[in-house]
Symmetry: C2
Subunit: 506 residues, 2 copies
Amino acid sequence: MLASIKDIEKGYFEYVKKIMDFEEAISLMAWDLRTGAPKKGAEQRSEVIGTLSGEVFQMSTSEEMKYYIDALTDPGVQNELSEKTRKSVAYSKREYDKNVKIPEREYKEYVILQAKTESLWEEAKEKADFNMLKPYLEKIVDFKRRFIEYWGCESQPYDKLLDLYEPGVTVSMIDKVFGELREQIVPLVQEIAGSRDRPETSFLFKRFSKEKQRAFSLHILREMGYDFDAGRLDETGHPFAISLNPGDVRVTNHYDENDFRTAVFGTIHEGGHALYEQHISKELIGTPLCSGTSMGIHESQSLFFENFVGRHHAFWEKHYDSLKQYADGQFDHVSLEDFYRAINISGPSLIRLEADELTYPLHIIVRYEIEKALFNDGLEVSELPEVWNGKYEEYLGLRPANDREGVLQDIHWSGGDFGYFPSYALGYLYAAQFKHSMLKDIPRFNELLKEGNIKPIREWLTTNIHQFGRMQKPIEILKDATGEELNAKYLVDYLSKKYRSVYELA
Amino acid sequence: MLASIKDIEKGYFEYVKKIMDFEEAISLMAWDLRTGAPKKGAEQRSEVIGTLSGEVFQMSTSEEMKYYIDALTDPGVQNELSEKTRKSVAYSKREYDKNVKIPEREYKEYVILQAKTESLWEEAKEKADFNMLKPYLEKIVDFKRRFIEYWGCESQPYDKLLDLYEPGVTVSMIDKVFGELREQIVPLVQEIAGSRDRPETSFLFKRFSKEKQRAFSLHILREMGYDFDAGRLDETGHPFAISLNPGDVRVTNHYDENDFRTAVFGTIHEGGHALYEQHISKELIGTPLCSGTSMGIHESQSLFFENFVGRHHAFWEKHYDSLKQYADGQFDHVSLEDFYRAINISGPSLIRLEADELTYPLHIIVRYEIEKALFNDGLEVSELPEVWNGKYEEYLGLRPANDREGVLQDIHWSGGDFGYFPSYALGYLYAAQFKHSMLKDIPRFNELLKEGNIKPIREWLTTNIHQFGRMQKPIEILKDATGEELNAKYLVDYLSKKYRSVYELA
């Protein structure tokens, strides 16, 4: 007797629920390792993560999974399936195809190389010695070029890598928006660099105790609408947000007692990620759709809160007094205006992680152009430092003195994460476009921030973005929420208007 | 081609390593749920635990496991196998036999009944209404009686239940030692109850802030030799210790700001459990032998530290000054002698969890005798309250006014945990016997406590007990460490000498 399509659908959902359960266990172990696991247990814990990850990989590429995918993508049964089923199966198929096409032996070699290169990167960066890393990075790039062929290369090989992080986004789309962004921002950055009107910032760097920063961070998360019955805040070296399930989305923070901005803007940023995951529809729990839809859309939510809310004048009209209360007097003689200008200071720099919101996209554009050249135009790994330095000089007016402050500064390439960087700037573009669209529905945006009433803003994001999880692709979400394709104009307008005002330029 | 025995052995260890990895993930999730997981994620987290537990059950009873067990218990190959392999396989076989003999359908019914009964117990206890619980408890007992038959009943059915928690220990062994204990302690308790020389205790119940109790708890754990690079201390409603692997053994604590004893003796108790798990030989990691060998031996380690160290006069000669420093003045005018007598006050009571070290064994003996009667002598569930109250009156001189302070006080029976209670008193007997034996090797025991030098004591326990994990059965450990069978004399001598001295009896 043949199984009915309803039975197959049921079997499929039980099967993916099991995979999702395994992934939740893996995520909790990762969270634990980063927040407070004792170091002597870490090696064995990593093996547990390896064991469970291996199971997930096997289930995702098993004969059983193939059976479900084949049966549930059959054109004859599509009208019997719900949208949730179709989209979930499409996602499973995408993962299946991606993983099953790479020969297992090669994939294992690659994973070992990846771990090796990441750990070497740390030493190479420390020593500012690119040559030390070069042979490994070359192998990583070779693997990636081969993987692209396995996946089925079309005209633009780099599109395959972009698609891993931002499904549906292509080189031709990014070229257009990043090009406009670069053309507009480079002269603005230069103009500001020439301005004599530098904000005073010394008061930012006074001692602000960790305990009080933590108390203020908790306060701000509450103000944002982060649900502490569905999450918690811990301390780590690098801040992050992690979703175990929509009822358990955790954030972490890092405290610098001589620069409160690390914790405050880190909290708001990770809080933005967490709000996304806390508000995904509960109906998607247990399916692969129960997650943010892409790196870029995720980043749009964190950057929306960090920049469009957290660096907004109106936000501090509400919260500056309370910041003063938590702090140890460092702002007592600083006006709101001076504070606002100080937290929005901008200037070219060499290190991406220390960049301000205006110059940040240029750091990403440098990396995007290099990645594209590597995979589309045959750029060689050995040429990376020279190309890197040239682009920094051209776009930011600064040339790295060595590779530590140049091409070696980020871990991403050593881990094989090519195609990832563009999401950071895409997220920023999305966020500006969402903001523009939100203003039509919520013209009182500034007043709401002044009143400390973030709820309607958060609800707009939930209605238009959060709830869908992976039910909508990034570009679909953008189009449904804003009525148009990706458009660099909104970010350019925002940056130009804001920084002309902060620096009182014409 | 037939697989060589070496290949089978290798396959077996890979297979059990996978099971142990799953169990580590499950334990971490359980720890997380109890320490700080946000409540809205708990339901889905329980499903993840269910999924992984189901996998462990399947692997432990699979055809593959049967293949390994059959091949590796073949008499013809025993001399080719290491001791570790033989003992590990013996443990796997024990678990396999236990699980595979119960029909799956019945086991599932039982698990559901268990959860239902445990949650009903809470309400029944609250209302002091035994009849509410009775029909469920009857079904639980029926299941257990049937399971004993599936496992293969010999002359004493209750032996099968004891064996679940304390392998190798039987009714005839326990009857002997519990009998002696009861005979000696009952008159001693009566004598003390009649003494006019009651210690003054009011100073124990002054406010001692949670933060300072936590700081003192950390201090004491460090003094005990608990390795914070292989563990951590958190706060929970009920304290516990949990081993994820020997490099990650966590303890928790509960703080009562009006009774510091909860946290201090709780810390020392759980610290004793943790020291055991931290010092199991690293060579056993990844095998089922990498765990404390039984409930009783585990309890011997926690009780050794709680009573033989933590309630010892010499221990407080060292630590009383530092306790005074952490506290908010509550001990400033209390002499060490008065403090020592107060923390060793004894008197009959109705609630096991509030009992002191002298009367505690009597609470256990009541439960043991009742369990034995249920499974060996046909006692009915409906008779439990009457039998319970009669025994309390006989042994402790107190009759519960209702079932909340009587037969309903513990959750164990509602969860089907018959055979578990005796381990508490067995652990105490083991601990006293270990202490007696340790004194031959470490005659300066008291001086070491006075000096705050616990290391030689902890090392003696590691050498004789901790390192073996499940490589040795409880009774083997006892015999190897003390040179004799279980003997109640040592605990009787200890209690009699100590309490005659505390109460200045003849």
